[in-house]
């Protein structure tokens, strides 16, 4: 089966600009996660969706970050306006209910804010 797809792979923007990331989970995976991985740190959850509903967005900086999952499939994560500290890798993962609830990760988007 196809894996989790993310685009773009790389993005460079200036501070105060906006940016959007796209994630297409594995077909049939109802749960989707966005993690932020700052250089030198482990990934941290930004937001978790169950179908098209939000399960956990307690760590999402809601003044600048937004996310949606229309129709419970693809998801987009947006940052507006971006700050220097938003430079990170943004990882999308989806959850399989067939293999011991394993999270499958996409290749990530590396964002550089200058």
């Amino acid at each position: 089966e196809a894996g989790v797809a993310q685009s773009p792979r790389y993005k460079i923007i200036e501070k105060r600009q906006s940016v959007a990331f796209w994630c297409n989970p594995i077909s049939g995976h109802a749960t989707l996660y966005w993690y932020q991985q700052i250089l030198g740190q482990g990934p941290k959850l930004l937001i978790q969706f169950q179908n098209n509903g939000v399960v956990d967005d307690s760590q999402l900086p809601k003044d600048r970050f937004s996310a949606e999952r229309l129709k419970g499939v693809d998801s987009t994560l947006k940052i507006q306006p971006a700050k220097l500290e938003d430079s990170a890798v943004y990882l999308c993962a989806s959850l399989s209910r067939d293999t011991s609830y394993e999270q499958y990760f996409g290749p990530g988007t590396r964002l550089t804010v200058t």
């Binding site: 993690y35 990934p43 011991s100 990530g108 590396r110």
Partner: protein, 115 residues
Amino acid sequence: AQTVTQSQPEMSVQEAETVTLSCTYDTSESDYYLFWYKQPPSRQMILVIRQEAYKQQNATENRFSVNFQKAAKSFSLKISDSQLGDAAMYFCAYKRSYNTDKLIFGTGTRLQVFP
């Protein structure tokens, strides 16, 4: 709150030798899951091995095995017969027993493998 600590920022091993990566965690839960993930330069997180806290037997997957010490809240990864392809960042992660819950990661250990 649950936390995961990896105290070894970098480790190195000779090809074909054995290396152990350390991880400690803190939780008040009695049932949970622990994981080791590998992240190569391609950035994609790959599951290496998982351990259910209620299982006393240590998990093994081919050359990878864990030493799970529940009372000490310790979860180390042993890589036997190291290969050049094992070079990567390794992350220890924790998840509460709720199946869809988020992963909580440590800061990672960079493993270098020398020929």
